[in-house]
């Protein structure tokens, strides 16, 4: 086989692989939306047939109408904007602290002994029950909302980081010791890369946790935000709007998931792990 035909064959292969990849992505997108579509169609049908009480279940078409109205009036943008800012700030703060304290506790037996039991206790305290403390300390302005969200984002990243570090292979740690990695280098060049699969799962959980904490945070004297919108619509029986809110939350979950998957594909390509 001459080199040129070989190169051609290879090129062809590459082109085919590219196509293949695209068709694969399309296929998996179609598969992914099958279930939601089935649910939507069933919902609309049952709703239109009057089997599902509209009062409780609304229906996809009503929800879409409500959504369009909200978008038209500019309310949606204002709710979304403020909620996004709160969630992102909270996530940034809580996630950063979770990672930081997770690393400290993961690396130092002593800080583990001092801090971890308390953190494990705080972890299960329902946020709903401690909002008074937040109001007392931080008022009901943006600060307390962001802090509450940060608290929600803190735990997943803390736990995953901590566990991730503790699962790092001791054999590799010994290599780093032999090369006299400084403590910082151990963390940044060994522990964090090795724990990355776990940390990324933590990011995924923290992102959605931040988002879910909005519902609680926006109980604290808010007058805008997606969480507020849901609460408010609930107390006036605006089922359509409640569902608009729920769907926004669901989408946020999907988006955060895709985001982290994208990160995983780029940051973890070194992994030689099981891929169904």
């Amino acid at each position: 086989m001459s080199t040129s035909t070989q190169t051609m064959a290879q090129n062809k292969q590459l082109v085919m692989r590219e196509k293949n990849k695209q068709s694969k992505i399309a296929k998996s997108a179609v598969r992914g939306s099958t279930l939601p579509l089935v649910v939507l169609i069933a919902w609309q049908t049952l709703g239109s047939a009057g089997i599902l009480p509209a009062q409780l279940f609304s229906s996809p078409s009503l929800i879409v109408t409500a959504f369009i109205d909200l978008v038209r009036s500019g309310e949606m943008a204002s709710h979304l904007q403020i909620s996004l800012i709160r969630a992102l700030l909270g996530f940034a703060l809580g996630g950063f602290l979770g990672l930081l304290i997770g690393v400290i506790v993961g690396m130092q037996k002593k800080s583990e002994e001092y801090l971890n039991p308390s953190i494990q206790m705080l972890r299960t305290v329902p946020l709903l029950a401690i909002t008074p403390l937040f109001i007392m300390w931080f008022g009901f302005g943006e600060l307390s909302k962001v802090l509450l969200i940060a608290l929600g984002a803190f735990f997943p990243l803390y736990l995953q980081t901590f566990l991730g570090l503790r699962n790092v292979d001791k054999k590799l740690y010994d290599v780093a010791r032999i090369m006299e990695y400084s403590r910082l280098e151990q963390i940044t060049k060994l522990m964090i890369p090795a724990a990355l699969p776990n940390i990324l799962l933590g990011v995924r959980l923290a992102l959605s946790s931040a988002w879910m904490c909005l519902v609680v945070a926006e109980l604290l004297g808010a007058d805008r935000g997606v969480g507020f919108m849901i609460q408010d619509a609930r107390s006036f029986m605006q089922t359509d709007i409640v569902f608009v809110g729920i769907i926004i939350f669901a989408l946020a979950g999907k988006i955060s998931d895709s985001l982290v998957r994208f990160l995983e594909n780029h940051l973890l390509k070194w992994q030689d792990s099981f891929k169904a």
Binding site: L56, I135, M136, F140, L220, F236, M237
Partner: protein, 307 residues
């Protein structure tokens, strides 16, 4: 909580920051806010409003206890709980008698026609709310107690769901829930003999009221102005509320016209409130009963309107 540092009452220097909290999306305060009714009175006093909004009483009380709320209004449940807990607020006026804000509604199949029929039936109510108090009183009027019925503790949304799917025979609830269900033909209201009132109240944080009685008085004047405007312009008021709550304007209109706001405490209301207090004390929600009359601080309302 920056109100205390504005202590020098000599209004010129810095504006006094007044935190007014909305409790839900209904009530004359919403109108006052929308129409800017506070602007005049408050700018004269050098006061600046910071608005906040709470979906219900309990988080509002928590904010008040941490000095984050100066002026607001409460329903009877939260009001009683707050006084019982000796939270630092004063009752400065009524909001309304609450004669039509709570009802027991039943399924339309006609199985339950009178209160006695509730015996052994499944009744939904959110524990500790004004609806709960109403239910206890209504039962008591017919010699029944909550032990005679199957009481299910449900928050309004959940109760709505349970009621619509006929898992509840009856539901003690407030507006907009009960009217909404009746309007839609899902429910009928149960007649109860006598009048069971659930009066709400305007409140002021004690520390704030001591320092700035004039602002409290101004607040009451504006509140009354807004209430009067609502009485005089029910259609326009309905429009405002409908926009806020996204409820149909005619439903809103029914709600606001079924009873007029009234900031002056009435004998009936005080009596009703006292009964509620005794009822709650007997079921153990509050530690011990107290005299409601003694908790009312009429000095502000007197100063505001009778000078």
């Amino acid at each position: 909580g920056c109100n205390s540092d504005a202590g020098k009452a000599s209004g010129e220097s810095e504006p006094v920051k007044v935190s007014i909290a909305l409790n839900g999306k209904m009530g004359p305060l919403v109108i006052a806010k929308e129409k800017g009714l506070f602007d005049d009175e408050f700018s004269k006093l050098g006061a600046k409003i910071s608005w906040s909004e709470f979906p219900s009483g309990p988080p509002l009380l928590e904010s008040l206890a941490s000095n984050r709320v100066d002026l607001s209004f409460l329903g009877d449940g939260a009001l009683i709980a707050g006084i019982d807990k000796k939270l630092p607020f004063e009752v400065i006026a009524q909001t309304g008698q609450g004669g039509s804000s709570v009802r027991i509604i039943t399924q339309t199949d006609g199985k339950i026609k009178k209160v006695e029929d509730l015996k052994g039936k499944t009744v939904g109510v959110a524990s500790g709310t004004t609806g709960h108090v109403y239910l206890i009183k209504a039962l008591k009027a017919y010699g029944l107690t909550t032990d005679d019925i199957k009481l299910i503790n449900l928050q309004p949304d959940d109760a709505q769901s349970a009621f619509e799917t006929k898992q509840l025979d009856a539901w003690a609830t407030w507006n907009p829930y009960y009217l909404n269900n009746i309007e839609k033909g899902n429910a009928v209201a149960l007649n109860v003999k006598g009048k069971i009132l659930a009066p709400g109240a305007n409140i002021a944080r004690t520390g704030f009221a001591k320092e700035h009685p004039e602002i409290v008085e101004a607040y009451l004047r504006v509140y009354k102005k807004a209430a009067d405007w609502q009485i005089d312009h029910p259609d326009e008021a309905s429009e405002i509320y409908a926009k806020e709550t996204k409820m149909p304007a005619d439903t809103v209109k029914k709600i606001i016209t079924s009873e007029e706001p009234n900031i002056f405490f009435t004998e009936d209301a005080i009596k009703a409130q006292q009964e509620s207090i005794d009822t709650l004390a007997s079921v153990g929600y509050i530690k011990k009963s107290f005299d409601f009359q003694k908790e009312i601080h009429n000095e502000y309302i007197d100063a505001a309107f009778n000078k």
